[in-house]
Symmetry: C2
Subunit: 293 residues, 2 copies
């Protein structure tokens, strides 16, 4: 390679693809890698450079974003033999935007530090729509200087961009987000199950309850989908279960009791066992509707 | 008595007092009774007529509102020897605005019907502020004709006034509301407990999570109070526990499983056992903060 690319993006799923596109649109040169090459086509057509593995991308990009599926994927992409940390130049900035484990984020940070690489954890909320419209909320953990370096790039991807603390703090914040989501969702599901069992019209019930002390994004946005039996993801059951497991594991490591989080994890495990892992999180309603509890 | 009063109000706590005041302001003649006579003073000063017991009020008022504490109070005021049903004239309209049991609402309706009395259950949400500003949400169960008759009066008390179905439907709707509230509250408490344990600043976390998929009234309004250790009620733990017990009992009668509702009831029982029943519902946070789970 003659000169380094300004940015690199690994993991071009629905969200990663949209986010990488914003980097191109913002005028940054971009390298891309993802498991299924076809998924990079639109970006390569728009001027991105394809790399055959994380190692070659890492060698040739100054700021590297990763947005993959599970902590095990993050582990492999950062620590594997063809991984980023082994091959990136000193001075590189790596930003993991996957929702992943806080402990893993700290491990990446520590190993990167040894090699003169800056590392941030920066998971997001806002879903595919937020990714498409560059309105994501980005929760960042890591050093302040790395955060300042990352900021212009992150501003191409999201709107609410906050450094929450040291390495791992972004992931911890996302876990807090997911716990609150779980409460709102489980509460909405049981409220509507109750209403329906009592012979009420759940849509009319929403008119009475959706704007007061019971109000939540989940109640207003997900209940109508449940009632339409529209369980297309939104946010996948399988990914939410992953997040709840990470959150519970972290809570256990911190020695705190989280009885609701345990219950929520059990409910989503049950939902997965029943074969609903590819549906949206609001498919939790099916456990109740079908009497599968 | 020469001529009947247009309205009567039984139960002049913080909410009932404000609501009864709106009836006076709207120009209705008003009779009042409450256990502690002193609590009626402002209303009597403003023109309301005091009655020494529910029986004498019932004899002299055309439309009777009740807003008391527990289902046992409702039971006594409607079915006791000095109760409303024994003493109200045929053609009276009775409206129970207490959050109480759907089964009891149906029992009042049935007994009232036998006596030629119209009955509605009409619990509210919106709290003391909603009562003061006449912005309550009123969830009504009972016959459509009774609802139409009640409407002008209810419009003096609230803004969102919806008939949800037959007798009991108002109470069932309120139960659905409380279940959703519980989910949002428990989720918010565990999210903030997690964040704090992880060493994050919970107020900064709120900036990242309070406006997306995790958003709820409880998260935005109650978490700041928790963090200020301001546990003044808002809504009392003791009343919320009553509501959760009614909801769970109703769910059991309907034969539906509500694992989260069971957990929420257990948490609020624990909170009560620990001596926090006179605090606001967000004092649930203390169970976690003080390691009392």
């Amino acid at each position: 390679m003659d000169s380094a690319l300004q940015t690199g993006f690994i993991g071009l799923g629905v969200m990663g693809n949209a986010m990488a596109g914003h980097l191109l649109t913002a005028g940054y040169s971009l390298g891309v890698y993802t498991r299924t090459e076809q998924k990079a086509k639109n970006l390569v057509d728009a001027g991105a450079q394809w790399f055959a593995d994380p190692a070659s991308l890492a060698k040739n990009c100054d700021v590297i974003f990763t947005m993959v599926g599970y902590p095990s994927d993050v582990e492999e992409i950062y620590f594997g033999p063809k991984g980023i940390l082994e091959h990136a130049k000193p001075g590189t900035l790596v930003i993991d935007m996957t929702t992943s484990s806080p402990a893993l984020a700290q491990k990446i940070y520590a190993e990167a530090k040894k090699r003169g690489i800056d590392a941030l954890d920066a998971p997001v909320s806002g879903g595919d729509i937020g990714a498409k419209n560059a309105t994501l909320t980005i929760m960042v953990g890591g050093e302040e200087a790395s955060f300042q370096r990352a900021k212009p790039f992150l501003e191409a991807l999201g709107k609410t961009i906050i450094r929450q603390g040291a390495a791992g703090a972004g992931q911890h914040t996302k876990m807090a987000n997911q716990i609150a989501v779980a409460g709102n969702l489980v509460g909405a599901v049981e409220a509507i199950t109750y209403a329906r069992s009592a012979g009420l019209d759940p849509r009319t019930v929403l008119l009475s309850i959706a704007n007061g002390a019971a109000s939540s994004w989940q109640l207003s946005n997900m209940v109508p989908r449940m009632l339409d039996s529209n369980f297309a993801p939104g946010f996948y059951v399988k990914h939410f279960l992953k997040d709840l497991r990470i959150a519970l594991e972290s809570a256990e490591q911190m020695g705190i009791e989280m009885p609701f989080l345990s219950l929520a994890k059990n409910l989503f495990e049950k939902l997965t066992e029943e074969g609903f892992s590819e549906l949206g999180t609001h498919a939790l309603y099916l456990l109740y509707e079908k009497g599968l509890l």
